[in-house]
């Protein structure tokens, strides 16, 4: 296994900047997820690494070796394609054996490796079938088995679970995680499903418009989104963003928002005090808001609009001053529409976001390696 290193890679299609100056390093044995909305360039970046797309500019390294000008077969990669791409004219066995046959491995070795890859993916009883005789989930496994059967340096996966139904996807997700831990592969995994990204990745690279906006651990991407877009894209419900006005009263920095006042913690105050404009966006996740039934000094008054019981918790939409806000509460929390409630924001968890640029104030440059 080896590391993947991408250096200021560009790929355009006509006027479309599919990938624009992307730098990315995936460490040896690391599992990195490329996450982003449809059309942001995830597949294109993966194809550039695989050599299926010629880069306009920049270099690609796999395991310290510059592979930019090598064809796919010389890059020692394995790939799982978005639509499986299992060969319909070959049996499952021959599909899984394809890469090994191309390497002219001895017969008994091929047999052994196919067998063990098939066992890992629980398709050992399907080896004689043709892909047309398989279900979508089984075909999926064949595609993964084909990829892990060869000795590749890195494993590239393009939305391998996207065509499965919700239940199967959940099951395969857990299986993949176990599997990849077992084979210790360096993996770059593309998805536009944030839950998949959060649950699978060692790190997540969030892409938009051909660029990587943030590259960090799932927890940090979720808790400390680098900007407005990421906060809104990741998490269900998305992060709440409230208009805030920064001012100083009696030598103390406060932020007026949601018809009330909140008191930023000291580190945040330091950053906020350096703002040129006194306005800021207050980003807060639904689970970082506490509901109180009586007024308190640091609580904001809100009115319940909608209560959505979700089993494990309730999702409540409230009117807070001129804005709406979503709040998670315990499942046994009782509320009626129209009822008045007080909200206390956990100020340690607030993301302070520059209104003009949309970037988080404490977020300088995203760490790239």
């Amino acid at each position: 296994m080896a590391e993947i290193h991408v250096e200021s890679v560009r790929k355009t299609f006509g006027k479309v900047k599919a990938v624009w100056d992307v730098d990315l390093t995936v460490h040896d044995r690391e599992f990195v997820v490329l996450l982003g909305p449809s059309g942001c360039g995830k597949t294109t970046l993966l194809r550039c690494i695989a050599g299926l797309e010629q880069v306009d500019q920049g270099r690609v390294f796999i395991g310290q070796r510059d592979v930019t000008d090598l064809p796919p077969r010389r890059r020692q990669i394995a790939m799982v394609f978005q639509n499986y791409a299992v060969f319909p004219h070959l049996t499952v066995f021959e599909n899984v054996a394809f890469g090994l046959r191309m390497q002219h491995r001895p017969k008994d070795e091929i047999k052994k490796r196919v067998q063990s890859a098939a066992e890992l993916l629980h398709i050992e009883n399907l080896l004689d079938r043709y892909p047309s005789q398989l279900s979508g989930g089984q075909r999926q496994r064949v595609a993964v088995a084909r990829a892990i059967a060869v000795d590749s340096l890195v494993l590239l996966m393009d939305e391998p679970l996207s065509n499965l139904d919700a239940l199967l996807r959940l099951e395969m997700r857990a299986e993949l995680k176990r599997l990849l831990r077992e084979i210790e592969a360096t993996t770059l995994y593309v998805t536009h499903d944030q839950v998949e990204a959060l649950s699978l990745g060692d790190r997540i690279a969030v892409m938009r418009d051909g660029q990587i906006l943030q590259y960090d651990t799932p927890l940090n991407v979720y808790d400390k989104p680098a900007d407005l877009f990421i906060g809104g894209f990741i998490g269900n419900p998305p992060m709440n963003f409230l208009d805030g006005e920064v001012r100083t009263e009696d030598g103390r920095l406060i932020v007026r928002t949601g018809g009330g006042e909140i008191y930023p913690p000291p580190e945040a105050s330091a950053v906020l005090s350096r703002l040129k404009e006194p306005s800021v966006l207050v980003g807060i996740r639904a689970e970082n808001i506490e509901t109180l039934s009586a007024p308190a000094e640091d609580a904001l008054q809100a009115t319940v609009l909608v209560v959505e019981p979700l089993g494990s918790h309730n999702l409540i939409t409230m009117q807070l001053g001129p804005e709406q806000i979503k709040v998670n509460t315990d499942a046994d929390f009782q509320a009626q529409p129209g009822q008045t409630i007080w909200l206390r924001l956990n100020t340690d968890k607030i993301r302070w976001i520059d209104k003009a640029s949309g970037r988080a104030l404490d977020y300088d440059v995203s760490p790239q390696s």
Partner: protein, 275 residues
């Protein structure tokens, strides 16, 4: 309301079947009549009224036909020309079709139109200058020259049909092959080609039948080495009735068996079943 729709659907269905049956009969009845005549003895062929069901089956007429001195050689000529045409037009046409399907290149649309426009030249007009040219090249009265002309006639459809066949073979499959160790050429021969085979076979059938049935060019470009249709075209008008039926039968049968053979063989691959 529901009754009415199911009733009208039934009517539409019935009409569709009726038309299908009529078309089938229109083709099958002459084939049938030719076939029974070919297997009837001479006196039955000349007798009138005709019976729709053969009373006596005999090989007399066919034997008479085959024993005519030119028939077997020209039958052989026909097979040679048809196979040559098939092979050459696939060898040239399939790569061209592949290029049209897979690559974007300058002048692609014009290329496509030009391929089609070659069909706009009537073979009648092409044949005479071609005959002169082939004479100069020393290819006159040679089966190769007939095959070349047949290739020219078949190539446009071969290219367009194979291109749509290759469009139907997902590009991702070839890309997967290159990722797992194939060069571009290997990806083509190991993945795209086998998957395209049924479509290529259909195109081959078409080419074979086109060459097998072509009369005009074959007549103009040859003297001694005539293909069967060209020979019969000249000869039949002057032949007795049993001979004509046997000739018709001979023209018909190889084309039909060839079609059935290839169709069955290829469709049964990869579990596509004929219903």
């Amino acid at each position: 309301m529901k009754r009415k729709t199911s009733y009208s659907r039934l009517v539409v269905r019935g009409l569709v079947y009726l038309v299908a049956v009529l078309i089938a009969l229109w083709i099958l009845i002459p084939i049938y009549l030719i076939t029974i005549a070919a297997f009837s003895p001479k006196d039955v062929i000349y007798s009138w009224p005709k019976s729709l069901f053969p009373q006596t089956i005999s090989l007399e007429t066919l034997k008479f036909f085959v024993s005519a001195q030119y028939v077997l050689p020209s039958l052989r000529n026909s097979v040679v020309v048809a196979l040559l045409t098939l092979v050459i037009s696939l060898v040239i046409g399939a790569p061209a079709g592949y290029a049209l399907a897979r690559y974007i290149f300058r002048g692609k649309d014009i290329f496509r139109i030009m391929i089609l426009s070659t069909r706009a030249f009537p073979i009648v007009i092409l044949s005479i200058p071609l005959a002169v040219t082939f004479m100069k090249w020393g290819l006159y009265d040679n089966l190769i020259s007939v095959a070349i002309l047949h290739v020219a006639m078949a190539l446009p459809t071969t290219i367009l049909v194979t291109s749509s066949v290759f469009v139907g073979v997902s590009k991702e499959l070839e890309e997967a092959a290159t990722v797992f160790g194939c060069s571009r050429v290997q990806a083509f021969t190991r993945v795209a080609l086998p998957l395209a085979l049924p479509g290529l076979a259909a195109s081959a059938i078409f080419t074979f039948v086109l060459s097998w049935n072509e009369v005009f060019a074959a007549t103009i470009l040859t003297l001694q080495n005539r293909t069967l249709p060209a020979r019969l075209f000249i000869q039949l008008a002057a032949s007795p009735l049993p001979f004509r039926f046997a000739g018709g039968f001979f023209i018909l049968i190889p084309a039909i068996t060839f079609m059935f053979f290839i169709r069955r063989y290829l469709f049964s691959l990869w579990g596509i079943t004929l219903k």
